[in-house]
Symmetry: C2
Subunit: 244 residues, 2 copies
DNA sequence: GATTGTCAAGAGCACTGCTCACAAATAGGT
DNA sequence: ACCTATTTGTGAGCAGTGCTCTTGACAATC
């Protein structure tokens, strides 16, 4: 069926496919605008349709449901954040792990500040009843992958302390707890280091979430200068935890 | 007007006032049930009215609007969490700051696990358009107050290192950033310590949020034993940051 | 016993996600 | 060029939402 269409060069992609693609993008753009303006909560299918000048029911030709639209937006947001972190990290000299770590942290915060509602779309309250489909896990781990790579790499370069920790019940339990992530991480890196890395990772998002959700109000002075100074002091703390 | 009512002893509180109080509590209870079942997002005034067997419009005699109800629920949640943390901390010997810190962390996590939706009500995505009224700030800081007290107290007991940090531009900026919280905190405690304390505080909520929103899926083994082992390892890290 | 303030109910407005039957546009094969 | 099958758009409609306003009933006060 497609064989002939492809052969017919000029209409390799049909007008329909092109239109479909165009409208699909327009729907997503309108949705992103709406989310940026007032959050995912108030994302309205009808409002998108109005914006695009089409019947409210027509939207459902492009996205099966509101949830499906949301899923697509979530994946895109993860990708956008991942791209931002990756490109910021890539700009730093390879032999400066501390600098690369700093770059990732600042990239995450910058992206979050510039896209608050998209940030909360992925790191905010989980939507009740909404089960994250499998497609979201890949993009979701881009930032984490970056940090794990950094952790492993800098661990290889570090002189082995060969400090075999005493096998207490606690360390054994931690070892079992880390089993799932172990599947994808070098065995060179110790349980303690891996756990520290994860902890710093969640601390990063805790810090960003606190700033974005206004929990720092009346605690840290408003304004980018102060907020950034405090964030920098936090990064120093995390670097110390990772002994960098 | 009330003068006579009060004088009439037996009916100091009228039947009306009592009924009103009873229904008010019933509305709140139904609302909490609904939130526990499916989150704040899907809290419905009509559903509450149905539950209580009254007309949908009658609810508005008790709460001016959905937002007003939400505000009351938020305050109650902050109080509930604060109470949980306080009573857990109070059970630990006064001369064991590390133990008291651990108790607070575990209390926060336990409360969050037992009241996930209420947790996200206060530490999740801020509701767009919803401005937290002034009444919420008091209860909101109960856990933080507890930790700051601990920080100050244990700092007094610690031998002064009198390490006057070099006054770099960064330390000066951090000092300015911390101005708001300084208003309510002893000057004995240094900027660096205060910032570390805050950072650990947000890390705690970052860790709890990560666990509750499923970000640890495929990372840390499911089940309370593993989750708790990982959480304990995080507490150890935070204790180290605070040099306890 | 009359008055006054309070409360519940019902109807209604404007909105939401979503479905369905139908009409228009476009595709492919003859 | 024609015919048929698929795809896209439409409008009506269902069931739900928060919220308002009027109306009638009742309890508390005088």
């Amino acid at each position: 069926m497609w064989k002939y269409a492809v052969m017919a060069m000029t209409k390799a992609v049909s007008i329909r496919a092109m239109n479909r693609e165009r409208i699909n993008e327009a729907v997503l753009a309108a949705a992103r605008d709406q989310i940026a303006a007032s959050g995912a909560n108030s994302l309205s299918m009808r409002a998108i349709a109005r914006e695009l000048g089409m019947a409210s029911s027509a939207i459902y030709r492009y996205f099966e449901s509101r949830d499906a639209l949301l899923t697509k937006l979530i994946i895109d947001s993860y990708d956008s954040l991942g791209r931002a972190a990756e490109s910021a990290e890539a700009r730093i000299s390879r032999d400066d792990p501390g600098g690369r770590f700093r770059a990732i942290c600042h990239a995450v915060r910058r992206w979050a500040l510039a896209n608050r509602h998209e940030y909360f779309l992925i790191y905010g309250t989980p939507v009740p009843g909404y089960q994250a489909p499998q497609d979201t896990v890949g993009p979701a781990t881009r930032v984490a992958d970056l940090m794990i790579a950094l952790l492993v790499e800098s661990d290889m370069a570090r002189p082995r302390l060969s400090q075999s920790v005493a096998a207490t019940p606690a360390t054994a339990a931690l070892h079992r707890a880390l089993a799932p992530i172990r599947a994808g991480v070098s065995n060179e890196i110790s349980d303690a280091e891996l756990a520290s890395g994860l902890s710093v990772f969640s601390a990063l998002f805790g810090a960003v979430s606190f700033e974005l959700s206004g929990q720092l109000h009346n605690v840290i002075k408003d304004g980018e200068a102060s907020r950034r100074a405090y964030f920098d002091s936090q990064i120093d703390g995390w670097l110390a935890v990772l002994s960098w």
